[in-house]
Symmetry: C2
Subunit: 327 residues, 2 copies
Amino acid sequence: MELVWLEDFLEIVAARNFSTAAAARNISQSAFSRRIKSLETWVGADLIDRSTYPVRLTAAGEMFLPRAQELARDIYRLRTDCRNLGGTTQAPLNFAALHTLAIYFFPEWFGSLGTPAQAQRSSMHAGDFLECIEQLSLGKSDFALVYDHPQGLPVLEAGPFESQKVGTDRLIPVSGTDAAGQPLYPMDRPDSDTPIPYLAYTWNDGYLGKLIGLILSRRKKPLNLTTVYQSSMAEGLKQMAVAGHGIAWVPRICVQGELERGALVQIGDPAMALDIEIRLFRRSGYRGREGEEVWARLADANAGPPPVTDSSSPLPRPALPSVAGSR
Amino acid sequence: MELVWLEDFLEIVAARNFSTAAAARNISQSAFSRRIKSLETWVGADLIDRSTYPVRLTAAGEMFLPRAQELARDIYRLRTDCRNLGGTTQAPLNFAALHTLAIYFFPEWFGSLGTPAQAQRSSMHAGDFLECIEQLSLGKSDFALVYDHPQGLPVLEAGPFESQKVGTDRLIPVSGTDAAGQPLYPMDRPDSDTPIPYLAYTWNDGYLGKLIGLILSRRKKPLNLTTVYQSSMAEGLKQMAVAGHGIAWVPRICVQGELERGALVQIGDPAMALDIEIRLFRRSGYRGREGEEVWARLADANAGPPPVTDSSSPLPRPALPSVAGSR
DNA sequence: CTGCCGTTATGCATAGTTTGCATAGCGATT
DNA sequence: AATCGCTATGCAAACTATGCATAACGGCAG
């Protein structure tokens, strides 16, 4: 029996569909099907009822689920506890981060920490907001790097986590541009009866979506938006905006280059943008040695490391950490 | 992370030596070494301190051990519970049995039960006495088939188990024979100053060893035995006896053929033999459906199935169950 | 009833992992 | 320094897992 089978099972319970769960697990549907079959063979009972769509749990599966969740949690906690007791070089720092922050913020930020060489072994799990929460709460990651705002949903604040601010960013609306460099979709248009195509965040990146709701609530006259595309990743929305498919709110950090090149332009007045924080979360009671060093260094810096800078800035760059999940 | 790694770890804790643990796990020392390494890599800490001989646990290993034992137990119990809830044909009956009983007793006995066809999917883990206990208590096997005697160590009786007698056997001393069919090592010899080479059970098959102690205590004049070979398996001792290396006490069931062919002969007077029971154990509170059918059927039969018979008896034979652990 | 769609399961070839053999590396002992 | 008994590792072979292609299946629309 393998831990990945348990995780596969937990994924299909959430997805209720082999193909979707397989995609989430980054393997083919056929491999996923076989893994679930292997788990069921080992257990000696069917756990998934495939005679319905979406699939559902059998009675044995209903019993299996909570205990599998507990087992997975216990396994990772045991690992974390042993890792904390073990040698210093053995324990990499595991991060989970929003895709955007993993790509545009983490490398420079991590390098700027100046942590001892041996602590620089680390891994990154890039995912959406819910995945970051899961990574942290399951003990799969030591830290989660996410956007935050005082008026956002206090999802992590409400849990057994603590955080420090490590940077700032700005959520801005952008549009693709025409040949003259003008926005394809100005926010305030004369013919406001025509809806603006809107590139929205999906429900599982509920965080930025909520903040955009805050922004939109500032307007006296509501925007006429129609959602034409959804993604949990800002990078995906950015690419769609560059391609001219609509407008999107994205963190400035990931469109810095496009803004400079004129591929995208910020639209709307300053009230349509929102300053947001980049915060590093960890579980309360965390006891990892190197992680503690990182945390203490941040506390000493108080205001965190240098602010977000242009990516062409000649800062010394450490080797990128290995990305978890690559095969 | 794989369950077999946990089991490997538990084995090396017991063995305190890679080579011995590997042998117990039926893999090569090099493969075993890599598995332990894989476990340690996954955990992110060394669990075994190899700088001493025998190896010992690191601090992380000390933490890991009890929780790994608990995890393994929980995993198997979850599996058993789900299996019991699941479909009938999905749940094979898992047996653990002493090697001798697995080979010579189980096939006919199991066939004589006359259980419904769909319940005849089963697996067998053949092992020594301690392995049978472990299989049962960890929930890896539903039943354990072992020898028992009222004056033997009540190891299983003292635990959370219940049992039924399913057969009888006799523990007899045997010797190889010379060309004239006479024993190579008669038990009572004129020149009793010469020690008789003795083929003994190892400590981990402590059960038969204890019973032999009972037998030997009956003698007014102690036997002059010198241990020349040890094994936990009666079959191994038998082969050594046939080869003329000494005498051994073995269950009659496994030497029936050799006695008939004259390859072995029973030595000593009847006081040197001991009637023993074959009992089927299961955990108290067992709830498996097919297993319950087997159990109830035995209870009805009260005195159990037909006694041990000659292996040439033309009883109908069911297909042998798959032997666990073969690669 | 038939055809289409979207799902899961499986044959097959390939990629990747695990294994055992042989032996290197290591520390203790003589 | 040589030998012994242990664990770790290079390498080739054996085995397992995977993805592609597609079979099998059930639901739905015409």
